[in-house]
Amino acid sequence: MNADLHEKPPLLQARALAYARNEEPIFGPLDFSLAAGEVVLIEGDNGSGKTTLLKVLSGLLEPTSGEVLLNGVHLTLAKLSHQVALLGHLPGMKLELTTLQNLRFAVGLGGIRPGITPAIALASVGLAGYEDQPLRLLSAGQKKRVALARLLLVPAALWLLDEPYANLDREGIELVNRLLLTHAQRDGAALITSHGAYAYTSGTPRRIALRAQAAQQPASEVHA
């Protein structure tokens, strides 16, 4: 397209990104970039704005100042792409429907990666045999696994995961790490939040520290 062809822009770039709710700063200003194949951990205490940051990065919330660039293009709610998948605190799934129905809906809405089906995705999160179970009958950890299966299905290069380790057993935590590793190897990237109790164990991920604004300390980028 242009001269940038040689120098590919990073998958996600935040420039002086800040968000304030009712004039009260939640986080920022933050500067960081995320290249394909990277997994970055956002660390911060409760209330330090991790969830809000992910919502801003997904385009759901408009930043108060600064900008988000996705592949070098401005990201706004009016112009979203298939590039981002957000896994929030809420599963975004219907308890009355079966796991397979929920995943089929996610595929309809978000498209599908080549070479995978909802059934395969369910099996790879360890839920083979639960295809026709209504979500309501699953445990909190199993629901989380279904939500992870959704990430495997939709063709998003950037995963924004809010506390992906919550509610998961040791095996589930390993599963998340394995999924993240595979995703990174396929040139995907992921931003995950954590309050520190669980950690991404495969390798040493880059960390972005968020501090509660009361500390009056600007958020800084720390290379682990």
Binding site: L86, G92, K94, E96, L97, Q101, F105, V107, R113
Partner: protein, 227 residues
């Protein structure tokens, strides 16, 4: 990478919402039951005098249907907001207004259409003259989608508030009064042997306008609500 098409997204949404309605069919029948009960109570209160009932028939049926529709409005986006599906809908790269139009269509199909189907029975309960029945059905067929569309805008505006029920009613009622006046007016005119085309055409014109504009307004309102 294969990004899904917009039509696939709409189909998926329609299928999911229909499946959900089927799973919650007890709740879905609630408005229908409400309308039948309201209409059935009138002869008890006013006495079985056919002449009295005939005069109030069309108006009563219209009011009952409108209130029943109002009853079901709050559930339009409620569960989607509570479980995070709404976030996923907003974040999908497809036009939100189109997806919401699908949701509104399902809402009309599952709450208003049964009411229209049962309207002849309600008409019979109140001795509505046979020649007015087609007018009533046409008026209802035009008025109920209008309600769903206007209601959706108001629901989108109020869904994020915690106790939105009261506010929603206050918002919707003034907006649907014209619909009631023209719908019931057409039936009353037909009953009096007067021409009834004009009010029906007005309803039709509003419906066309709402079909185009209401999903856009709903999408805009929903984005405001979510931030």
């Amino acid at each position: 990478m294969k990004p899904g098409t917009t039509s696939a997204a709409c189909t998926a949404l329609l299928r999911r919402d229909l499946a959900l309605t089927w799973r919650r069919r007890g709740d879905a029948l609630n408005p229908l039951l409400f309308a039948v009960i309201v209409v059935a109570l009138f002869p008890f209160a006013l006495g079985p005098d056919a002449q009295v009932l005939e005069r109030i028939a069309a108006g009563t049926i219209f009011v009952a249907v409108l209130l029943a529709a109002l009853l079901s409005l709050d559930s339009l986006f409620r569960s989607d907001l509570d479980d995070g599906s709404l976030e996923q809908l907003v974040l999908s790269p497809h036009p939100l207004s189109l997806l919401l139009a699908c949701k509104i269509a399902i809402h009309w199909l599952t709450t208003a259409l049964p009411l229209i189907v049962i309207a002849p029975l309600l008409a019979m309960l109140l001795h509505l003259p046979d020649r007015v029945l087609p007018v009533l059905l046409v008026a209802l067929a035009l008025a109920t989608p209008l309600l769903s569309l206007i209601g959706a805008i108001c629901v989108a505006l109020t869904v994020a508030l915690r106790r939105s029920g009261m506010l929603l009613t206050l918002l919707v009622l003034p907006l649907i009064v014209p619909v009631l006046i023209f719908g019931a007016g057409a039936c009353n005119a037909a009953q009096a042997g007067l021409p009834y085309g004009a009010p029906l055409l007005w309803l039709g014109a509003w419906l066309v306008l709402a079909l185009v504009l209401a999903p856009l307004a709903t999408a805009a309102a929903l984005k405001i609500s979510l931030t």
